[in-house]
């Protein structure tokens, strides 16, 4: 699938990630495709991470998880959460082609983050689906 996103769409994506996720306390928020390519990444100015490896691994992680889902008889799992001692990663599926990854500390409640992620996904779907794929 080819998707062309203009500056306007990317700005809207950035804005949604920043307003709904970074501003409530997430450290980093990334929109990637299921092949591990980064569409947009916003962070709160903290340590710069190797986001490219993170994206590739996250996509692989999600891919492996969905293979597991098929083995147990599910079509897919839509959510993955890793809890660390101080930092956590939350991965959720936006649609068939995109994933949203959030890195956050224990200062942000997972339940609250999930509430905001649901809202962000609605925003993102509005942006991503509106753009027709280029052939």
């Amino acid at each position: 699938m080819n998707l062309m996103l203009g500056q306007k769409e990317l700005d809207r994506i950035h804005h949604s990630l920043k307003k709904n996720l970074i501003d409530i306390g997430a450290q980093s928020s990334m929109l990637i495709d299921t092949a591990g390519n980064i569409i947009a990444v916003v962070n709160n100015g903290s340590d710069i991470r190797d986001v490219y490896s993170l994206a590739a691994l996250a996509a692989a992680n999600f891919g492996a998880m969905n293979s597991m889902a098929k083995i147990v008889g599910e079509d897919e799992f839509s959510l993955l959460f890793h809890k660390g001692r101080t930092e956590n990663i939350h991965l959720s599926k936006v649609n068939r082609d995109f994933l949203l990854i959030n890195i956050f500390t224990n200062q942000l409640s997972l339940g609250f983050l999930r509430m905001k992620v649901a809202e962000v996904i609605k925003d993102l779907l509005g942006i991503l689906v509106a753009k027709k794929p280029a052939n």
Binding site: G36, A56, A60
Partner: protein
């Protein structure tokens, strides 16, 4: 590292097919799977992108059955070949017992082969391992391209580029045609088992 359960008498070894993107690693495994389907119970698992590029790994476990009272299980993996998946490749390499380096014989892939081999050595070094101490077989794949009019590297060139120092056994192969795929597998499995046995003595 190999898993050996002396009580249950199980030996499990991991063999990884490594190489640059689109060199034929997945095709190797698919061919092997097709050859022993029906005789081996397990299925092949592929974690790949929509574009059929390996995203995490292809995995095919095959149970060789009881050999000298031991259940011998071989786990075959491929790595994603694209450069951007280096972190993922590193994960798959963890605990490897035997390696097949699949090189692409197309002449325009010469640099990719060399880079991929260097990358393999770097990733092994991160685990404190030396490629010279791991059973290795070289496979020079896509030899059939010559028949289609595509320029392929000479065997000597491939040997010089990739195997001069390592001096590993090698096969000229064509994964799409099934040429020397099984002999490659046989060689790496027997080399790996021999190395394992040697280590345990």
């Amino acid at each position: 590292m190999a898993f050996i359960n002396l009580k249950e008498k199980i030996i499990q070894a991991k063999i990884v097919y490594y190489g640059p993107g689109r060199c034929g690693k997945t095709t190797n495994l698919e061919y092997i799977f097709s050859q022993c389907r029906g005789q081996v119970q397990s299925e092949m698992v592929s974690v790949k992108t929509d574009g059929d590029r390996t995203l995490f790994f292809d995995f095919f476990p095959f149970d060789m059955g009881k050999i000298n009272e031991y259940d011998v299980k071989i786990q075959l993996y491929t790595v994603p070949g694209q450069v951007k998946y280096n972190s993922t490749r590193r994960l798959v390499l963890k605990g490897v017992d035997g390696l097949v380096f699949v090189a692409d014989s197309a002449s325009d892939r010469r640099a990719s082969n060399v880079n991929s081999l260097e990358n393999l050595q770097e990733n092994l070094a991160l685990y404190g391992r030396d490629i010279c101490s791991i059973p290795l077989v070289m496979q020079y794949n896509k030899r059939d391209l010559a028949q289609q009019g595509t320029e392929v590297l000479e065997l000597e060139t491939l040997e010089e580029d990739l195997n001069r120092r390592l001096k590993a056994p090698f096969f000229e192969a064509s994964a799409v045609e099934g040429l020397n795929i099984v002999p490659t597998l046989k060689k790496i499995v027997s080399s790996t088992m021999a190395a394992l046995e040697e280590e345990l003595r």
